[in-house]
Structure formats: C-alpha cells, structure tokens
Amino acid sequence: MMDKPKAKFDVTKYMALIALIILAIVITALNPQFIAPNNLMNLFRQTSVNALIAFGMTFVILTSGIDLSVGSILALTGAITASMILGGMPAWLAGLIGIALGAVLGAINGLFITWGKVTPFIATLATMTIWRGATYVFTGGNPITGGKMNTSFFFQFIGQGYLFGIPFPIIITLIAFAICYVLLHKTAFGRKTFALGGNEKAAFVAGVKTKKVLITIYTISGLLAALAGFILTSRLGSAQPDAGTSYEMDAIASTVIGGASLMGGKGRMSGTLVGALLIASLSNGMNLLGVNSFYQQIVKGVVILIAVMIDSQTQKNRD
C-alpha cells in the first residue's frame, strides 16, 4: 500500500525561480546588455556577498530565528583581518582568523539565545549594536587600507581575482552554496534544523539537542558573514567601519523570497540562492535601465511584497 505515486510537480516551489526568469527576460528585452557575459559576471559577483550571508540566514530562519548582527560581524571581522594584514600577517592566516572570529561572534549570539533565553531578534539586535560600536572603536572610525593590502596577491585574489575566467568571489560562493546545500538537505544536522524549526518541542523530545543545533546555526551564520566580509574587504581594498550596514535586511529578503518562512521549518538553500540573484538582478537591471535610485527602492519593496504574497497565497496549509 506504500508504493503510491511520488509527490507531483509542485509549481509553488519554483515561484521565485519563475519570477527571476521573468525579471531577466523583461530586463533583457529593455536592455540586452543585461545578459552580456560580462554583465552576468558582474551580477554574480554583486550577488556573492549577500548570497553568502543569506545562506547562513537560511539556517537561522529555518529555526524561526533571525540574525540582525551579520552586517556588524562582517564589519568587525573585516576590520580586524585588514589590520592583521597591515600588521604583516600573511593574508591567508589573517583571513582564517577573521573567519574564525566570525564563527565565535556567531556562537556568542547562539549562547545568548539558548542559555540567555533572549529571543533571537533582541539578542542579535543588541550584538549588532555592540559589534558595530566595537568596529568603530577598533578602527577609530577610519577605514583600514593600504600597505600589504595593496600588495598581497592572495588578499587581492579573493575579491578581485579570476579562476578559469570566473571571478573568484563567484567560485567561493558556489562552493559555500554546495556545502550549505549538502549540510541542510543531506545531513542529519540539516534534518534537525528543519525539525527544530517545524516544532522545537517535538524535536527536543525526539532527542535533538536543540541548544547545540541552534548554537551551531548561529555560528555558521557568523562564519559566513565573516567570509563575506573578507571578500568585501578585498573587493574594496579597504575595510570600512560602516560596511555591511543593513545587509541583514537583504539577506532576510533573499531567504524569504526563496520560499523560507519566518515561522520556521520551511525553506531551501537553492531558493535562497535564487532569492539573492533576484535581488541583485533587480538592482543591476534597474541600474542598467537607468531607473532613478529613488524609484529603485519602491520597486524593490513592491517586488518583495509580490513575491511573498504569491507564495503565501499559493500555500494552502497556512496556520
């Protein structure tokens, strides 16, 4: 009696992808430059920072959490990495330390949330403010730039290099995507993430170490934010104290456009990637079309709203 047909093709799963394709067609029709290989490379590179953060955010949102501190983690780790490079440390080591620091900052969020019993919104709102302040204190408000940052091949390669003709940030993003995809959809950890997001109590009773999973998830989010920060610092050739401000919003929007629910338990890594591409295409496309920046904001808000409304309207089992 079990050998019933497989779940049939579910168009609602691909809403974001369909929206992205439609958007791409519309923009191309108005300005064919859009699909020029050169622009696509730009577009993907422009996607990478937000996509990396959004990958981490996907785990977080799946647990019905939120991480507002990603932009500040990006800035603080970027600044520390940059200053270590200036101080003479090999760039790869400084990068690794920065990324590890991001993981630690993420874990601290996780600790506040699990042991401190502070809701994710407030915990990460507070750390957002704290790490931003720390970044200003650390940098004295000045960008960190120059010296070895201009000469280290490795450092420059991360954000500005090419491999087989593909910008290196894109390659990093794809690798991160593959790892996150497998982690979320193919491992026990991913299963636990979904279970926890769907019903934390039931997951706990079923033996999921919910605190451990949550801490790990915020650690991943912090780590990816720091990785994004490393790339951004390299792209800009400078660590800006106000880097990453409000990046959390784009990451959240990408995740949600990709089909995740802020109530938890629902979301896919591929959806997030599509969501990030959609947001980047929107800016890139509107820039190409010469849309006034004021209108760009309006359009962006409307698109988010439409994407999410289509999604929620096609869901039957809401609440």
């Binding site: 430059q33 960008p143 420059q156 290099g161 400078s238 104290p241 106000d242």
Partner: protein
C-alpha cells in the same frame, strides 16, 4: 589549477585619446548619497551642465554604502559610458572600481572626495583640511584664544569627517579649548539632540563647529531653544545654512562652491576628450561665509 588574476596595475591614462565632442559623450555619475541636500544640489549642477552641453547622463545613488557604489560603478562600466564622475562614499574603498574603469579605458573624475589609488583624470574637491583649519582660525579670531567650544562630527570614518576634523584640530587643539567632540552623522535631528546634551554638560561653551551645515542647523535649534548665545560655524554653504546666517541663527559656514565643483568636474571630462591637459588636483577654494558676504555667496553659487 592556474588562474589568471586580472589584477593588471591600472594603465588608465592613455596619452592619446580619441577626441569626442560633449554631445557624443555618455557620462556615468555615481553619487555617494542623495539624502543629503548638498549632494542633491551637486547632482543637479552636474546634470544640468552636462545636459546643457548635449551629453547623455546616467546617475546612480550609492545610499552611502561603499559596496553598493562599487556595484553601481560596475554597472555604469557595463553600460559603456565614456566617462565616470564619481563622488566616492569612501576614498579608499572606491579605488578598486576606479582601477576597473582604468582597465576599461574609461576616464574617471572624482568629485568632492578623492580616490586613494587608481588613475583619475582629475579630482575636483573643496579642500576639506583647509576648510577645517579655516573654521578653527575663524573661531579663534571671533571668540579669542582658549574659548570653550564643541565639535560636532560627521559620519564616523567618512573622509569629510576625517579631513575636516584633522584640519580643525590642527589649530583647535592648540588655540581653542575643545570640551566635547560628538558624532551626529551629518544629520540634523541627531545634531539637535547631541547639542542639547552638550549644552547641558557644558553650559558655558562659546562656540560650536559643526562638520556640515545640516548639523549646524540642528545645533542652532538647540541653542535657540536653550536661549544661549553660542557662535556656530558650519561647513558646506548649503541653502538652509545660508538662510540661517541671514537670520543670525548661525554665524558662519565654510562655503563650498558646489556650482564650480560640479561644473568643473564635467568640464574636466570635456577637456580630457579634447586632448587638453587637465589638472590632477583641482582644489576648489572654500571660503568663509558670514552675514557680511552671504548674499554675494548665494548669488555666486546658487544664482539666487
């Protein structure tokens, strides 16, 4: 695998340029933020001047986000603009895209703020350090040496903040008694609150240096509400501040000649495409604007 890096070290300035008339030029403009009236004005000046000469203009707004500005400039390069006029959010962070423009052989003019590296045809800006100094010297002159004053700073880390602060402090630290330095992010509302609190903590200050005019106007409101007599000097020569000077709410401002800055930045592009030699550094003089010369300045810069 062996990779190619694409990190050629910018060979932007080609000695021979293909001559082009203004009407054949498509100019990409990247502004740091259009939520500051000074830059809205700058944008308008650039736009009007260039369009007046028959050029096409594409404008983007980076919202004060360095990485968005990089994206914007990339997108302008994609659109094969003939020249870029960039008002950087940050001098260091803009360099990488300036280099990209160099690779694409697109001449770059920086306006209001400079680019740390990469080849630019010219940088057209006020001399912020000089302006800062000028403000300090003026306060010394008005209030006497060692007068108690407060400094309201701009967005932490912004080059304007740093440079104006540097210039101001180089004199002020020695000849003035700076009792408080607080950031108000170039924002009027923030400056109002910060000033209220400064006046509370130091009720006897004689002067305030605000690093831009938005802040100066906010500070003036706090001073008026507290019924104090404090000499305020701002920075920008924005219309709101000029009006306030006329009314005696603000004593002075370091006036930037936005019309000149904007027009000259476009002219640099034109000169470049005419094969003319253009100055690498075009420091547009700032001047102190007080009640005495406000009308004149207004006429000169805003034609009002």
């Amino acid at each position: 695998g062996c990779g190619q890096t694409g990190l050629s070290n910018g060979s932007g300035s080609s000695d021979k340029v293909e001559k082009k008339a203004p009407k054949d030029l498509k100019i990409g403009v990247s502004i740091s933020t259009l939520s500051n009236p000074a830059f809205v004005n700058l944008k308008n000046v650039i736009n009007d001047y260039a369009k007046g000469k028959g050029s096409k203009v594409i404008i983007s707004d980076a919202n004060n986000d360095t990485s968005k500005q990089n994206n914007d400039v990339e997108d302008l390069i994609t659109q094969k603009v003939d020249a870029l006029i960039i008002n950087p959010c940050d001098s260091s962070a803009i360099s990488t895209v300036v280099k990209k423009a160099n690779e694409a052989n697109i001449p770059v003019v920086c306006v209001d703020r400079s680019a740390d590296s990469g080849e630019v045809v010219s940088t057209v800006a006020s001399d912020n350090v000089a302006g800062g100094k000028m403000a300090a010297e003026w306060l010394v002159k008005e209030l006497g040496a060692n007068a108690k004053i407060a400094e309201i700073q701009g967005i932490p880390g912004a080059s304007a903040t740093r440079e104006r602060g540097k210039g101001f402090d180089s004199i002020g630290d020695k000849k003035l008694n700076i009792v408080s330095k607080q950031a108000a992010n170039f924002d009027r509302a923030k400056a109002l609150t910060v000033t209220e609190n400064i006046l509370q903590a130091h009720s006897d200050i004689k002067g305030i240096f605000a690093q831009n005019d938005e802040e100066a106007v906010g500070a003036a409101r706090a001073v008026r509400a507290a019924k104090k007599n404090v000499t305020i000097i701002g920075f920008d020569g924005a219309l709101a501040a000029l009006t306030a000077i006329e009314k005696g709410q603000i004593a002075a401002t370091i006036g930037q000649q936005w019309n000149k800055i904007g027009e000259e930045s476009v002219q640099m592009v034109y000169d470049h495409y005419q094969g003319k030699k253009v100055p690498k550094n075009d420091k547009v003089p700032v001047k102190i604007v007080t009640k005495a010369n406000v009308a004149e300045f207004k006429k000169q810069v805003y034609n009002k």
